[in-house]
Amino acid sequence: MDVNKPLQPPRWGGVKAVLLKFKDEVLQKMNNILNNSETLKVPSTGGDLGEAIRVIETPGGGVVLSKLDDVINWARSNSLWPLTFATSCCGIEMMAVASAKYDFSRFGFEVARASPRQADVIIIAGTIVNKMAPVLKRLYDQMADPKYVIAMGACAISGGPFFYNTYSVVKGADHVIPVDVYVAGCPPRPEALLHALISLQEKIKSGLTREQIKQGI
């Protein structure tokens, strides 16, 4: 397409011809990419999609190529709403991360939802006791797929200070539900939780399942 040419009034035949020509150009470019005769251009911003996208430069703009899965994962990872779920002091730290100073909304953890049916990620912030375990399981089951779990702090990882000699504490929330990201700390700093949230986003963008990541594929 010649961008310098003034726009013509639309005529269907003309539009169709332009589109066909455009399609030919793109196909040609893709062909070149497949034959490695042309280098790929990744956005210099190092944007969210990273290497999942290909940019084909065309006169007057460009065409972005990507897999639909990658686009979906990108969208998902940037709109993860956490469940309002806190069982002990880590919850206070989680609230601090939600507040203006740290503000996890900046990364797409927009608002904490009070209903599991509207939540995408459950941040286990605190000790899970035997009586709470079935509740946690139920909340997890009520969340819509795809759903993710972050174990925040020592208690959620292993039972924490209650690991030894306790009759009432579950020794790690992963005895109850599968966990995606573990954050160490007692409680973790807000920065640590933010890092965990971003790690979860990267995990989602990688498009791999928990099991695949564990096996190091």
Partner: protein
């Protein structure tokens, strides 16, 4: 009343009682058989008027159990701690739930955690622990739970 006056008054009411020094509040040691009588006096004596039982707990000393009651008077703003030594093998003490209503739940908690039998308690059953926990007292020092315990 200041602490010394409290002590004098309590010695007058219960000559066998002994006092411990060093605490923030006056500490009085009482025999289990004297407890119910003293409790009534603490609540009803016009100059004592301990109308607020703000802590009821138990301690396992391995050789014996000690019931600890913290009282306060909302009228006179004085406090007192009462300690009652119990036999660890057969811990029994009179309930005070009819004097201070709050003791009802607290005694149930001590009952499930330490196995102290509160005589004449109107509703002595487990408070928080799930059914079937009777006989296993998690706050006893020698407690071991075969299912949940992790030993190091």
């Amino acid at each position: 009343m200041i602490d010394q006056e409290l002590k004098n008054k309590l010695t007058e009411l219960l000559p066998t009682a002994t006092f411990e020094e060093g605490g923030e509040w006056p500490n009085i040691n009482v025999e289990p058989k004297d407890w119910l009588l003293l409790a009534n006096q603490l609540r009803n004596d016009a100059s004592l008027h301990f109308d607020y039982l703000f802590c009821l707990t138990c301690i396992d000393f391995k050789t014996h159990l000690t019931m600890v009651y913290h009282f306060s008077s909302t009228k006179y703003r004085h406090n007192i701690v009462v300690k009652v030594k119990l036999d660890r093998n057969q811990p029994e003490i009179q309930t005070v739930s009819h004097i201070w209503k709050t003791a009802n739940f607290h005694e149930r908690e001590v009952y499930e955690m330490f196995g102290v039998n509160f005589l004449n308690h109107p509703d002595l059953r487990l408070l928080i622990l799930p059914d079937g926990w009777e006989g296993k007292n998690p706050m006893r020092k020698d407690f071991e739970d075969a299912v949940n315990m992790i030993k190091l």
